[in-house]
Structures are given as C-alpha cells and as structure tokens.
Amino acid sequence: MSGSLTLRAAIVSVALFAVFVLGWHLATRSSGATSGMDPEYAKLMGATATQGKSAMPGPLDVASKLWEHLSQPFYDKGPNDKGLGIQIGYSIGRVLVGYLLAVVVAIPLGFLIGMSPLMHKALDPYIQILKPISPLAWMPLALYTIKDSSISAIFVIFICAVWPMLINTAFGVASVRREWINVARTLEVGTLRRAFTVVLPAAAPTILTGMRISIGIAWLVIVAAEMLVGGTGIGYFVWNEWNNLSITNVIIAILLIGVVGMFFDQLLARVARLVTFPE
C-alpha cells in the first residue's frame, strides 16, 4: 500500500476508464474484409457491410468527432446545423431562466408557508397534488396558452424546479430552532429583520439542499422538453442526430449533458458549503 487514498482512487478510476475504452474499441472494431466484393459495390455498401465494422461508433470515432466539435463549438450553418456550444448554451439559458424564476417564486412562498401554520395547512393540498405531476405533462397546456415553444420549455423547467425548493424552504423555515426565534423575540427584532438575520441563515443549508435538487431535476427535464419543442438546445440536438443516425453525435451529447449537470451540481454544493454552519 503506497500513496494517498486520492492517488489510489485516481489510479483505479483511470484503469476502469482504460478497460472500458479498450472493451468498447474491441467490440466495435472492424473484423476485416468479409468477402470479396466488387470495389464499386463495396463503396456503396460502406464499412459496416464490407469490413465487418459495427454500426456503433468506436472510441476513436467519438474522440475525433469530439475534437471536431470542440475546435469549432459556435458555428451556425442554419437551423439544423449549429455548433454544440450554441446548442448547450440555449439549454443552459433556458434552465437558468426557468430556475431563477422558480427561485424567485419558491423561496418567498416557502418562507410564507414555513412561518405561517395557516398558509401551510391551506396550501398543502395544492402542493401535494401538483408536486407529483410530470413536468412534461404541462407541455401541451403551456404550448396552448403561451403559444411559444421556447417560453413553454422555460415554463416546464420552472414548474419542475419549483417544488423541491418550495418544500425545502418551508421545511427549513418551519424547523428553525425555537430558541433562536425566542432570542430574536426577547430582543424585539422586527419580522423582516428576523426573517433575514435569523430565519434565513438558520434555514439556508436546507434551502440550498432544495436548490441543489431542483437544478438537478431542471437539467434532467430540459433534455426531454427540448426533444418535444425542437428548434434549438441540446435535447433537440440529441433527437436531431438520432434522426440523422449519427450515433457518434448522440454519444458526444450524452457526455456533454453529464458534464454540464455535474458542473451545476458542484457549483451549488460549493454555495451550500458557504452557508453551512458547524453546530
């Protein structure tokens, strides 16, 4: 046993990756010319038929395609051929707008529900019914009323991101320790100052947990929403490349969706660490 845990973990990670890529490569490589074929005909048939090449792209195909995408991420050659950077940018933009709208609605409303037992009881049935609805089920209604596919996608993000934040904020606010509230009461701290200087810092870790769950769900849903509404975005890109039968591009998109989702999650985890206090 030598080296730190981090180092050893990194070695295992790299080894697993190497085994996976090698396995992938071996499974998809050409098995050599299958039979004598008229070269003219072979050209028409393509590598799958003539070289025994799998229809699934190998790691090298994906890597070279990825490099191609990365070297010019922002090209725009018309509605069906945009750079990957542009597509993912559209998706991130929609997620952020829908998510921020959800923050603006869910956190104040969560405060209200958490601080007022009356509002908690009154709004609870609505939350319980609305929460389990798949965000995509709202899509037709959104398209019909909003009449704009892009804003409909933002609405769908909003509706899926709002619940975890609302519930966590209400829970965090309602479970602020009684003694902290009593300190504020004995010091005659006004409602607004109490909300900002006592309740908000006390509930912040719980609120951030809700925000982290929400951004994860929003990023899951945007891909599906964009497959439906079409036009732009990484979800549309995936579906378009499926229609083009470009499995290479689909794999690259999947990889990219994962990377961006991880980035969002880590970003909020970092913010959560800032507001967490040791007891």
Binding site: E179, W180, N182, R185, L187, E188, V189, P201, A202, F277
Partner: protein
C-alpha cells in the same frame, strides 16, 4: 407599590383534548425588589419555566398580570433579557457578532463602531477577550454560556432572567460561572430572576428563594430569605452556621413537603406567602429560653417537621 417586579394572581392553563383544561398553577403572587436576586426552585413540571417565560414575555398568563417597574408587561421587551439553558447562540455568527446582534437590536441607530465597542466591553466583562472572532462551535460549553451572559447583559436590562443557565455545564465550570454572575450582579446591582434545581446554587446566588410545590396545580409555598451575609464566598459558604439550616430547610421542602403541601397546609393564602428566614436549626436541645421573637409573617425553619 414599592415592588420592582410584581406577579399578580397569574395562572396558566392548557386545554386538554376532551377533558377541559389542566392548570399548571393558578393565583400565583410573587414580588421582588430592585437589585434583588431571586431563585425559583421546584420539581420539573411545577411551571417554573412557564413563570420565567411569562416574565420574559415569551408566554402569556391565562389570568393575572405581571407588573415590572410600575407597568404591566405586554409581550417581550428589551428591558428583560433572557439567558437560555441551551445558550441559544447563533452558530453562523462569531462571538462578537452574537453580542453585537443584541446591541444593535437595542440601539438600532448606533454606528457599527459604537455597537462593536459596546459589545466588546461586555465580552471583556465575562472574560472572553481574545475569542471575539471565534464561532460558537469552537467554544467550550462554559465559554458559550459566557457569550450568552454577555449577550443578555449587553442590552443593560432592568431584569435578567435565567433558565437553569448552568445545568448543562460540568461542576468546575459551573462554579466559576456562578462566581462571575454573582460578581457582575453585585457590581451592577442587577435585578435577577433565576430557575434552578441546585440548592447550593440558590443559596450561593439568591437573596430570595421561591419554593414551588409539585404541579399540576402548583403553588408558591413559601419564600426563603437567605440568612447568609451578602459578602458570602464560595469557599467558606458551607462553614457558615446558617448554611445547613437553610440547605436542610430547602431540601426538606423538595423531598417531602413539595408533594404533601396541598393536603397538609389548608390555610395557605397565595397572596400572602409566608416568608421564612432560617435560623439556627433544631433549637430543641438548647431551648431553655423561648426562640427570639419574630415578625408575625416570619416563621423559623425549626417549626417545620
């Protein structure tokens, strides 16, 4: 009306599902003068904390009123500071931040520098100089409670209310903090009302000890005036001739009379609770001469079984 604090005929009742209400205590009268240190002792469930919360304004009596400095109280006030049993510091604020929060609540118009200086002087008072920038999680239990004391004192309250402030601390730390509290209260003439379970703590700190019978339906049975000299010290407290008389009287009450009080004492007038000043205990062996004439309201400890 010379009493600084006057609790007048307060009651606390809670509704019980399907069975009307339960009365924690009723028709409770209690008074204290300015600068006095009062301790309330009783078993759990007698409503001690409820009385303190009513004094603090965190709870309201079902009946009766509390008058402080000539005015009936209505809710919480910056004139009445509370030191909580669990210190109740904000863990996201530093020591200075916790005290400054209280200071800026009392004097919202003060500049940040003035708030800081004022908070600092109270941190120095409780002996925490040098720990201003620490967070509560970095402090020991005793230091946390010191911050709680500094926070309560920093708003220069008319009354300091303490709910078993030292019960969560180890014996050594408790001793030092009792010394500090006694020193500060004597120096500043602070009127203080405290809940405790600890008889020695009450004898060391309090001028008046309020004995409560068991709840529900608890009553303030008697008020014990501390016969020990004002300049008593922790070291020789137990050598004072009146120490054991006082201690035994309170212990006897807690062990037996707090349970049997309601059956045995039928002529208890809650408005005029007997005030007792324990004398030299058990005058039986030396009682060739009658005990010194006492005030009608003052009974001696020896008369109780």
């Amino acid at each position: 009306m010379s009493d600084f604090i006057s609790i007048e005929a307060i009651a606390k009742r809670y509704p019980v599902r399907g069975r009307g209400t339960t009365t924690v205590f009723e028709n409770l009268w209690l008074s204290m003068s300015r600068g006095e240190f009062g301790c309330i002792i009783g078993h759990s469930g007698c409503g001690k904390t409820t009385i303190l919360n009513i004094l603090a304004g965190l709870d309201r009596p079902s009946e009766g009123t509390v008058i402080v400095d000539g005015e009936a109280i209505d809710g919480t006030s910056l004139d009445r500071a509370v030191i909580f049993q669990s210190h109740a510091l904000f863990p996201w604020r530093t020591v200075l931040g916790n005290v400054a929060f209280a200071v800026s609540s009392k004097w919202p118009k003060w500049s940040a520098a003035k708030v800081r200086a004022h908070a600092q002087s109270f941190i120095d008072l409780v002996g925490l100089s040098g720990s201003e920038a620490k967070h509560p999680s970095e402090l020991s239990g005793g230091m946390k409670q010191r911050v709680g004391i500094a926070r309560a004192l920093s708003i220069t309250p008319k009354i300091l209310l303490m709910d078993e402030p030292f019960s969560a601390l180890d014996a050594l730390t408790r001793g030092t903090l009792q010394d500090e509290v006694r020193r500060i209260c004597l120096e500043t003439g602070q009127t203080t009302f405290m809940i405790t379970h600890d008889v020695d703590e009450a004898i060391y700190l309090a001028d008046k000890i309020f004995l409560m019978t068991n709840g529900p339906g608890a009553v303030l049975a008697e008020v014990v005036e501390n016969p020990l000299p004002k300049d008593r010290g922790r070291i020789d407290l137990h050598r004072h001739p009146l120490y054991y008389a006082t201690r035994n009287h309170i212990l006897d009450f807690l062990v037996t009379r707090s349970k049997s009080f309601a059956e045995t004492v039928t002529d208890h007038d809650p408005h005029h609770v007997p005030v007792i000043r324990p004398g030299i205990a058990e005058p039986t062996l030396l009682s060739l001469t009658p005990p010194p004439a006492a005030d009608a309201a003052v009974r001696t400890a020896g008369r109780h079984p």
